[in-house]
């Protein structure tokens, strides 16, 4: 039974409209879903950035009262939660969606409707978290949600409820997407593409899916226990009831540490695509890159307690977690040297994606080094809960993930939208971002070591924090300008002509072999893969660049039909969680209605004409 049934289109009417709102709501095309992910995540990224700017205004001078302590708590909690779950993860998902099928030579993902479902659940979960602002009850216990800050006793309001429920909804989206992409990468590779011939971005994304599959169930249970504590009066995290607040920290970081690799591995993959193309050299040490990625992911499950040195776990646990953490520097170092080996002696093409990729390497090294510093428990005890930690994780999350994702945006923009972004504005964006980023986050190392605590809404004058904090605020506004330049670039070039050729950068991977933007059916002919850099191989064999590919007519190619059942099911899932949160006020009828919506959506999904073997005529 070595087959996959995709339904068939011959007996069905033509595939609905290609434009308009309804076509976007019902789309199951991985490319359109990728664009939806990107646009939504960029919106949440701007929202998270706005929250950061408000925080920086508050901290610009000592004893400031621009924000109340309560508002400050809500802003830093929502900033962290949004940037991780609503910005960086879905921005990576945008590239998974758009690029993985193209890189492996597939027509779509394995389960196109499940893919749409993942997006809609993500959108609804993101909106759910942010609707809390309208209730004046945005989450305020930090993105890490430590017990017993989150207990009913200390957080009686709706704030933490919105956070718990919002994260549960987003977890459904991540898990559904992870099952889908794991299956897609393993099963839908073009004929001839061995695992060790896969593009490196696909490889790193594949490892990311494994991390998602294994890490998200743990946070799901941690959040379930918190839900029981808050909604049903259990005491899993309540010491007075026999529970243990540290259990939350363990469960959270068993998820939370793999999560940081979920955030960074896709960026590693993007950088590993950009550097070879703009150095005109194959990736140095491909196999070492793949295996160091796997090794990082594996170690990522064994180091969670380095987030918990301050809890006093004793010398044996401290020693183990310290050593295991330092071990991660080895595969990460392997990656960095391989990137350097890739550009070494290369014929560098100084285009915007290369700028961001090089910026990534430099910034990520700084973040990596400060990470090794607090792998040591004695050093960590000085640094924990200070701005030094804030500096560290912004160097890896912003200096790493965001620089990498931005490199990917400039690199793949022509493929996705068929238009080249302006090079001059792109480089301006880069320099503003590099300067603004370092002005914002480098001084945090210093104020952190001077003892400035995190998560505190203000600081007194005369502690030596004033000037550096003002510099940080100025830096944050430069970052804002950097992204306004990016937005201007997008608007300007969108008004211009469709000027992107199929292969503007002399790419090595299959996505550059088809027109920009790709036709709905991706590949007119299923590509045959004979090497690791298939497009370079083809160009070498031909002795020069390839002619512009024709998109073909798509005749005879099966394309999955649009479907609205993923949206209905996504509404059902969201409604189940929302009704649970409201159940103690409204009763349980809401849950019953919500479960009915989900079952209605799922059964219509499973037996949908054109997809299901059970209802499709033949």
């Amino acid at each position: 039974m070595a087959t996959t049934v995709l339904g068939h289109e011959q007996t069905l009417p033509a595939h609905g409209a290609k434009t308009g709102l309804w076509s976007w709501i019902t789309t199951v095309d991985h490319k359109r879903i990728g664009i939806l992910y990107g646009a939504t995540a960029f919106f949440f990224f701007l929202l998270g950035g706005l929250e950061a700017l408000l925080i920086r205004i508050q901290l610009a001078k000592p004893d400031n009262n621009f924000l109340s302590p309560e508002a400050y708590n809500q802003l830093f909690t929502m900033h962290g939660t949004s940037m991780i779950f609503l910005a960086i993860m879905p921005l990576s998902a945008m590239f998974f969606n758009f690029m993985i099928p193209l890189q492996i030579g597939a027509r779509d993902v394995a389960f196109p409707r499940l893919n749409a479902f993942s997006y809609w659940v993500f959108l609804l979960g993101g909106l759910y978290l942010n609707v809390s602002w309208l209730f004046g009850a945005a989450p305020d216990a930090g993105w890490f949600g430590y017990a017993n800050l989150t207990s009913k006793q200390f957080s009686p309001g709706l704030n933490v409820d919105f956070w718990v429920i919002g994260l549960q909804i987003l977890g459904v989206s991540s898990l559904a997407a992870a099952v889908n992409f794991f299956t897609t990468v393993l099963n839908l590779r073009a004929p001839g593409m061995r695992l060790m011939w896969m593009p490196i971005f696909t490889w790193m994304s594949f490892i990311t899916q494994i991390l998602l599959l294994l890490a998200f169930p743990v946070i799901t249970v941690a959040l379930i226990l918190l839900m029981f504590d808050r909604f049903f009066g259990t005491g899993f995290y309540v010491p007075a009831a026999g529970g243990d607040p540290l259990l939350w920290q363990h469960l959270f970081w068993i998820f939370g540490h793999p999560e940081v690799y979920i955030l960074i591995l896709p960026a590693f993959g993007i950088i590993s695509e950009v550097l070879p193309v703009f150095s005109r050299k194959p990736l140095f040490g491909y196999a070492a890159m793949v295996f160091s990625g796997i090794f990082i992911a594996f170690l990522g499950f064994g180091v969670w307690s380095h987030h918990m040195f301050a809890t006093g776990m004793g010398p044996i646990a401290d020693t183990y977690f310290s050593l295991a953490t330092m071990l991660i520097a080895i595969p990460t170092g392997v990656k960095i040297f391989n990137w350097l080996g890739t550009i070494w002696g290369g014929s560098l093409q100084y285009k915007t994606p290369l700028y961001f990729a090089l910026g990534f390497i430099a910034m990520f090294i700084i973040g990596g080094l400060s990470g090794v510093m607090h792998a040591s428990p004695p050093a960590d005890l000085q640094q924990t809960d200070t701005y030094f930690i804030v500096a560290h994780f912004h160097y890896v999350m912003f200096g790493g993930s965001i620089f990498g994702l931005t490199a990917g945006a400039y690199y793949w923009w022509p493929k996705i939208f068929g238009r080249m972004l302006d090079e001059g504005l792109g480089k301006l964006h880069f320099w503003l971002m590099l300067i603004g980023f370092n002005l914002t986050f480098f001084p945090m190392h210093i104020v952190g070591l001077l003892g400035m605590p995190r998560r505190t809404y203000t600081y007194p004058a005369a502690l030596g924090f004033d000037t550096l904090n003002l510099v940080e605020t100025v830096g944050a506004f430069i970052l804002m300008v950097a992204f306004l330049v990016f937005i201007y670039n997008v608007i300007k070039t969108t008004r211009g002509p469709r000027n992107a050729p199929a292969d503007p950068w002399n790419g090595a991977t299959l996505e550059w072999s088809i027109p920009s933007p790709p036709p709905e059916w991706n590949f007119g002919q299923t590509p045959q893969v004979h090497s690791r850099d298939p497009l370079w191989e083809t160009k070498r064999a031909r002795g020069g660049p390839l002619p512009e590919p024709s998109p073909g007519t798509g005749a005879g190619i099966h394309i999955p039909n649009p479907s609205y059942w993923p949206v209905v099911s996504a509404i059902g899932v969201t409604a189940i969680f929302a009704s649970l949160m409201m159940a103690h006020k409204t009763g349980y009828w809401g849950v019953i209605v919500a479960v009915s919506i989900l079952f209605f959506g799922l059964y219509n999904w499973l037996f949908e004409k054109g997809y299901s073997e059970f209802t499709t005529e033949h």
């Binding site: 039974m1 087959t3 996959t4 049934v5 394995a110 389960f111 294994l214 169930p217 009066g233 259990t234």
Partner: protein
């Protein structure tokens, strides 16, 4: 499946739906591992309520009355046995589906569903019985972690029963010929997984003191 839909070869030779259910099961392992860990961490920690041990005779501190042990092994053992047998039954049902023997398919699938229903019913009875004996979700940490662990397992069994009933109706309507037996195979994989999880939970919760 050649008669009704264009089929694509997959890179692994494994059907994508089958690979996906295996992937999902892998992820679910972590879900139950975390719940079981939570139970093991908490089962000895109670400050109030039935104690000192759910397997032993205990004295209600409020009334001074001596009460029976909370946990009763015989009933759960029957439920466990039926759940284990249902894994065999669904293998026979799948064999029937693959060979196109509809009677065999319907009979064994029906038996599987009955076992599942008995198990869920057993759990509903057990939960209400425990509550009557004074063990509630809020009473102590044993109660909380017990109900959450076995409750989520019971929810998985319930979803499995609904899934199998759907398959049963399809089979009744002659819509589950041997060419579509993969649909039952996927449901069976999930059913086996739910059984295997119980094989861990049963000794951990009921047998080990």
């Amino acid at each position: 499946m050649s008669d009704h839909a264009p089929a694509l070869e997959t890179s692994t030779g494994l059907d994508s739906r089958k690979l996906a259910i295996w992937t999902f099961i892998g992820s679910e392992c972590l879900f139950f591992a975390t719940l079981i860990s939570n139970y093991l961490v908490h089962k000895q920690q109670w400050l109030t309520g039935p104690g000192p041990f759910p397997h032993e005779v205990w004295t209600d501190p409020a009334t001074g009355k001596v009460l029976e042990p909370i946990i009763e092994i015989p009933l759960v053992t029957v439920g466990t046995a039926l759940l284990l047998f249902s894994s065999l039954f669904i293998v026979l049902a799948l064999y029937g589906a693959q060979k196109g023997r509809r009677g065999m398919l319907l009979g064994w699938l029906g038996a599987t569903i009955l076992c599942g229903l008995f198990f869920v019913g057993m759990q509903v009875y057990e939960f209400t019985h425990f509550v009557h004996k004074g063990l509630t979700l809020q009473r102590n940490m044993f109660g909380a972690s017990f109900f959450v662990l076995t409750g989520f397992h019971g929810t998985h069994v319930t979803i499995g029963v609904i899934w199998l009933i759907t398959m049963f109706i399809l089979a009744l309507r002659k819509q589950l010929p041997s060419t579509r037996s993969l649909n039952l195979e996927i449901a069976a994989l999930y059913w086996h997984f739910v059984d295997v999880v119980w094989v861990v939970i049963f000794p951990v919760v009921y047998l080990i003191k």
